[in-house]
């Protein structure tokens, strides 16, 4: 049998065995659970962080001043963000304001960062050293706005509103660049996330054959290269089923949310190569990334003789993936430096870097070169892994040339 025919037999068996196993349901559910949990905890953490991390200023003033400052702050945050200005919490003035301010700053429960007292004309900011730099500058804006409003009110008018004439264009280069960077990073993160999830499965993929002694039956019937390739293809197919389900679920979720409220509008901007080509390239580079790392992990995992060794191998393998991910991130909005080129050329980071390239650059030709380069490395790693397996696990000299087109096609030499 030829390499691909044999690989297909192995892949089909592995695919069916996995898809029809109970653990596959768990495999499908885990990312959805993790995603939901991450969204939930992320939201909660953000909320807590927002309230916990923002400095709060105690405002000791009469009600008119409190109201004027409150209005001024509200107008300023409407044009910026809630977090851009400290919240002002009114406190009824005591007889000795100075002592009251000191007391408020010492109160751990309320946790004030500064105390603003006095009037709009003579405001007083009490706080630790440096309070005048950060909080002081922010409060200055609020006070100035309140004083301007008060001045206009005293004159019997309102501050004139400047009308800005709007000229709408298709897209601004700066925005487009930013959105495409976001698209690139999102695509990289998705590919990285799914591959990380599969890494342990790949490491332990040959363990079943080794423990069941099936490897002997396989090695006697088909080339070891096809065993490795078949296992990779099966896992790729399994991950594709997973991705289809996960993306389908997320798509439905998005449509559901859209139907309820229009807060999750997708950006109008498209990746540089266009959405259809980009989605295709994401799929292709995911496959390339998976095959490259998968072949390596399968080779490494094939050396392990038990689950304990596989678990030990998981940590360095995950670190390797993180390193590759970080390197590939340098290709997002890269300046053409050595790091970016390393990310493009290094086989393991190349697929992730090229996804970022597809999001940001329109030319299709680099992708053909990159895919050919990555395919070559997949072949080399599978070949090296299977020879290593033959030498160390089967205790045999590798036998035959490192690369033979005839054996690849299943033809007899000569």
């Amino acid at each position: 049998m030829g390499l691909f025919e044999a690989a297909w037999v192995i892949a089909r068996r592995d695919f069916v065995a996995t898809v029809y196993s109970r653990s596959f349901i768990l495999f499908l559910l885990v990312p959805l659970i993790v995603f939901s949990a991450a969204m939930g905890t992320g939201y909660m953490a953000q909320r807590n962080d927002r309230s916990a991390a923002q400095p709060v200023v105690a405002l000791i003033a009469d009600s008119a001043t409190v109201e004027a400052l409150g209005w001024a702050r509200a107008r300023l945050v409407a044009g910026t963000a809630e977090q851009s200005l400290p919240p002002l919490r009114p406190v009824a003035p005591a007889e000795n304001v100075r002592a009251q301010a000191a007391r408020l700053l010492a109160d751990e429960q309320d946790g004030y960062s500064a105390v603003l007292s006095g009037t709009l004309e003579r405001p007083v900011l009490t706080g630790p050293p440096g309070v005048e730099d950060g909080l002081g500058a922010q409060l200055q804006l609020v006070i100035d706005m309140a004083r301007r409003d008060a001045a206009f009110a005293a004159a019997g008018g309102a501050p004139p509103r400047t009308e800005i004439r709007r000229v709408v264009t298709a897209e601004a280069a700066g925005n487009l660049k930013r959105i495409r960077r976001n698209i690139a990073q999102t695509a990289q993160t998705i590919i990285f996330g799914v591959t990380v999830m599969l890494a342990t499965l790949l490491l332990s993929n040959l363990a079943e054959e080794k423990s069941n002694k099936v490897i002997e039956v396989l090695a006697a019937a088909v080339p070891l290269d096809s065993v490795f390739l078949g296992k990779l293809l099966a896992m790729l197919g399994i991950s594709m089923v997973g991705m289809a389900l996960w993306s389908g679920t997320l798509g439905l979720l998005y449509l559901f949310v859209q139907a309820l409220q229009d807060w999750m509008a997708l950006p109008d901007a498209a990746p540089a190569v266009g959405w259809p080509a980009f989605l295709l390239l994401v799929l292709v580079y995911y496959s390339a990334n998976y095959m490259l790392l998968g072949a390596l992990f399968l080779g490494i995992g094939g050396q392990a003789s038990n689950i304990r060794e596989i678990q030990t191998l998981s940590m360095p393998v995950t670190l390797l993936q993180v390193f590759v991910f970080l390197l590939a991130m340098s290709a997002v909005g890269g300046d053409g430096g050595a790091m970016m080129w390393t990310a493009y050329i290094l086989p393991f980071s190349s697929p992730l870097a090229m996804v970022a390239h597809a999001a940001q650059h329109a030319s299709p030709w680099p992708h053909l070169a990159a895919l050919a380069w990555q395919a070559l490395w997949v072949v080399l790693i599978i070949r090296a892994s299977s020879r290593l397996f033959r030498a160390t696990v089967l205790k045999s000299s590798p036998g035959g040339a490192f690369f033979s087109l005839a054996s690849l096609l299943g033809r007899k030499p000569g």
Binding site: M1, A17, N212, V214, I215, A220, S396, S397
Partner: protein, 316 residues
């Protein structure tokens, strides 16, 4: 049996971590024959078979399988049952057999149909869809054997096929091997149970310490020893004593000795003429066990017996 060789190996040598496991094995297995490789555990039988099949490469020497130097080239027409049985526990029996056929190029659908027929014909029809893990060890071994022959190979290689089987399953397996051979398939198997080889094989190789001690017909191995004569006479002494060869020795009221090269007639004549008064005379052809002892040595034979006994106990 044709004169064409199904397997030919010359000077196979293999060492693991610098320790020689097989030292210059020569084997010639004629097509259509049943060929046994005999030897105690650790003699190098499995290593030899794995080299013949290309699972491991020899350090030295050459081998050809059905005329091909690279065994994988003829994988479609070879079946192999490894010593350590390998099946996926969650797979249904029919699927397991069909998968093993598919590995040898048999379309999956054809494999499934043949598997079902094989299972039903052998009284395992109820287990067609049962997972391997639910079968007994003997049944699982039978399933793997079916997987070995499902694609109708020209050459079947069985490594210790009787190991772990009870007497009934051993008998079934012997029957199956004979059937395969009758259909023209070459069968080569390794064993440390001499009786299996004696009953089944035309040719054998005796291996000990990684070396071939004998390779040829079973009859040739037995012919290495002269037939044994047991004689009881009425006369205690007389001229007839001169007819006994030098190695003749008394045991339990009998004289025991190897039949002289001239044959039985001159011996009989001399005994009668010498007035021995023959009460009882038997001539026994030596069995393969005796031949094995003579060829491989007493120690190797003892090891074989111990292996065999341990295995029988395990199977029981």
């Amino acid at each position: 049996m044709s004169g064409v060789l199904a397997i030919e190996a010359r000077g196979l040598f293999k060492s693991f971590d610098g320790k020689p496991a097989v030292r210059g094995i020569d084997i010639a297995v004629p097509e259509g024959s049943i060929y046994g490789i005999l030897g105690p555990n650790g003699a190098g039988k499995t290593t030899t078979l794995r080299m013949l099949l290309g699972i491991i490469e020899p350090d030295q020497g050459s081998r050809s399988l059905l005329g091909h130097a690279r065994p994988l080239e003829v994988a479609r027409i070879v079946g192999y049952l490894p010593e350590e049985r390998g099946l996926y526990p969650a797979m249904a029996t029919r699927e397991a057999i069909a998968f093993m056929g598919a590995l040898r190029g048999l379309p999956l659908e054809v494999g499934r149909k043949r598997a079902e027929i094989l299972l039903r014909e052998n009284g395992l029809g109820d287990y067609v869809d049962k997972p391997i893990r639910s079968l007994s060890k003997g049944m699982a071994q039978t399933i793997q054997l079916f997987g070995t022959i499902i694609h109708k190979p020209r050459l079947v290689v069985l490594d210790e096929p009787f190991s772990g089987l009870d007497a009934i399953n051993q008998g079934r397996l012997e029957h199956l091997i004979r059937e395969e051979a009758a259909s023209g398939t070459t069968v080569i198997f390794s064993t440390h149970v001499i009786s299996h080889a004696e009953r089944l094989c035309e040719r054998i190789a005796i291996i000990a310490d990684g070396r071939i001690r004998f390779e040829g017909l079973v009859a040739e191995a037995r012919d290495r020893l002269r037939p044994q004569v047991r004689l009881r006479t009425r006369a205690e002494d007389g001229a007839w004593r001169g007819a006994l060869p030098d190695d003749a020795h008394p045991r339990n009221g009998f004289w025991e000795f190897e039949l002289p090269g001239e044959g039985v007639e001159p011996l009989l004549k001399a005994l009668i003429d010498g007035g021995a008064g023959i009460e009882e005379l038997s001539i026994e052809r030596p069995g393969l066990h005796d031949a094995f002892v003579a060829i491989a040595g007493e120690a190797a034979a003892r090891e074989m017996e111990q292996d065999s006994r341990a295995e029988s106990e395990a199977a029981a």
